[in-house]
Symmetry: C2
Subunit: 122 residues, 2 copies
Amino acid sequence: MRRNTIQKTAIEKVFRQHERPLGIDEVVTYGRELVKSLNQATVYRNLKILIEDGWLERIAHPVLGVLYERTGKGHHHHFYCRECDLTFDLPGCPVNEDDATPEGFIVEDHELFLFGICPSCD
Amino acid sequence: MRRNTIQKTAIEKVFRQHERPLGIDEVVTYGRELVKSLNQATVYRNLKILIEDGWLERIAHPVLGVLYERTGKGHHHHFYCRECDLTFDLPGCPVNEDDATPEGFIVEDHELFLFGICPSCD
DNA sequence: GTGTATGCAAAGCTTTTGCATAGGT
DNA sequence: ACCTATGCAAAAGCTTTGCATACAC
């Protein structure tokens, strides 16, 4: 049986409070504001559990390394701002599925990262 | 002054012989077939140098971790085959640049990964 | 009370770095 | 001959794991 510890609850809260993909350090930092004793190993373990439970998803960010974000947002992509170093969700999809399928390949899925400057930094 | 050692030459040869993105272990393995004493640290150092010189590019692969590939192929994307675990270059681009630019954002660049089954595995 | 989850520390990986020496120019 | 690049080993990051204890149920 899975238990609802204050640590796990805090980690979930961190993701609900920040509507963007987060790195481990961010989860630890924000999580400690809720549970000061929060250990990094606990964060790693809970992130793994939350992924297993389908509540989180792991993203391999081209610049920032591994990020985690909530599932259930539907098909979307990410924008990385080179100025403020933050990554945002982008609704919609500018990928043409037909053009995306090359001869002889079966495309099941895709992942897109956009790079540039976000509105706040422009 | 930069020197042309047999190790560096071998590493470059590995990339010329394999027309697809390679991981560090692959570069070490194939490189040792050319220079048996080839050290991993030497590979890391040369990959860095080749990136500085604009001869290689680093790719953050969502599944395989860090890969390296030759520059100068023009704008292209990558296809990862879930069956054989290999990553291929795909010519062309199925991203609609206009649709890709959300309100208020300045898009400078993008990166796309396709996932599925390659012709050999189908 | 029972047994899972936590905190801490140690161990695994991957990547980087220091240092003596081999080797490119 | 000079001085950069190599090989080896140690160190630095990031992530996982073992173990005693705290705490959720």
